[in-house]
């Protein structure tokens, strides 16, 4: 069965409004400034990081030295003038010979965060590392991901890690069940899981 679903949500629904961000505890999918130890091989600092760590370790279980998994984030336009690459990152797919292929499975497109609204980003699932929880929080959160966007990012990460395509409906249903069973869930709940 062929199911047509976008890899990514509407760009205006990716991040929690700045005025509401403090209501949302740190979670998987949040965008942070890169801690100082996040460096490229040539010593350049990572532009930003996306949290890929289970949300529970960022909340009640958080400890200062707890290693938190993050992925490197950079601007889509970091690929210079190669608009074909940029377009594939933004779509997550590419049409070739009449078939629709996954494009750059290691990439996860991110809409522009509120503090830099003109520049869209992507996370690189291949370039990950851990950073101490306190180093992450000291670097500071730039944006909190919406629950809807998180479902899309989880689906994309499942595809990258296991090469399984799942349906959005299934990931929404799984996340709804998980939230429903989480007695310590903090912050506003998504309408689809209340």
């Amino acid at each position: 069965m062929v199911i047509a679903e976008p890899w990514y949500p509407h760009p205006d629904s990716y991040w929690v409004e700045t005025s509401e961000v403090n209501e949302y505890p740190f979670r998987y999918g949040d965008l942070f400034n890169a801690p100082a130890e996040c460096l490229d091989a040539n010593g350049d600092p990572w532009p930003a990081v996306l949290v890929l760590h289970p949300s529970c370790d960022l909340g009640a279980k958080a400890k200062p030295a707890l290693p938190i998994l993050v992925a490197r984030v950079e601007a889509v336009v970091a690929h210079g003038r190669d608009e074909a690459v940029q377009t594939k990152i933004r779509a997550g797919w590419a049409e070739k010979d009449g078939a629709v292929l996954v494009a750059f499975a290691n990439s996860c497109w991110l809409s522009a965060p509120p503090d830099q609204p003109a520049i869209d980003l992507y996370a690189d699932f291949r370039r990950t590392r851990t950073v101490a929880f306190n180093a992450l929080t000291e670097a500071g959160r730039r944006a909190a991901m919406t629950h809807d966007a998180r479902v899309h990012v989880i689906r994309r990460e499942i595809y990258f890690k296991y090469r399984w395509k799942t349906t959005l409906a299934d990931v929404f249903a799984a996340e709804k069940e998980r939230i429903g069973g989480d007695a310590t869930f903090g912050g506003p709940r998504p309408a689809w899981a209340s």
Binding site: V2, I3, A4, E5, P6, W7, Y8, P9, H10, P11, D12, K61, V76, E83, A84, Q86, T87, K88, R90, A91, G92, W93, A94, E95, K96, D97, G98, A99, V100, L101, V102, A103, F104, A105, W109, S111, A112, D120, I158, Y162, R163, W164, K165, T166, T167, D170, V171, A173, A174, E177, R178, G180, G181
Partner: protein, 150 residues
């Protein structure tokens, strides 16, 4: 579609009479299908009455048909809508069509990603063009022990 054309051109077609099929069907069919042949069944010199292919080939044909259906039903209308907004799409065919039409495309990422969210396509192949495994998730949340392995 190009995929199904490639399939046809790379497959040997074996002609077999209905009598031959009836009398020696089993072993011969198995041997031919194991060799990935396409078997046309029918009286010699007359139009075929059936075509027999191995199950894997049949699956490939079905996938090719689905992709062709997807192209016709979803991609082409999507291309038309994108062309009206002069958006750039990650599509060889779209870029070919818009180039031949002399259409100037813009690089407004917000307009593009809005469009992509509202006009989804079915991704059916991996980065190398192979079919993708589709997983159905079923969940039954059981909670977890409130202890940590440090």
């Amino acid at each position: 579609m190009m995929y199904s054309m490639a399939y046809r051109s790379s497959s040997a077609v074996v002609h077999m009479s209905t009598t031959e099929l009836r009398e020696a069907a089993g072993p011969k069919l198995v041997a031919l299908l194991d060799a990935n042949a396409v078997i046309e069944v029918g009286p010699y010199g007359r139009s075929r009455t059936a075509v027999v292919v191995a199950p894997q080939r049949y699956d490939e044909l079905e996938e090719a048909f689905e992709e062709m259906h997807e192209l016709k039903e979803r991609l082409l209308p999507m291309f038309q809508a994108a062309a009206r907004e002069q958006l750039t799409l990650p599509s060889e065919l779209y870029l070919l069509l818009t180039k031949s039409a002399g259409l100037e495309l813009n690089s407004d990422w917000r307009a593009l990603t809005r469009f992509l969210a509202e006009n989804p396509v079915a991704t059916t192949r991996d980065e190398d063009g192979n079919p993708i495994a589709t997983a159905r998730l079923t969940t039954s949340y059981v909670g977890e022990l409130d202890e940590d392995l440090e």
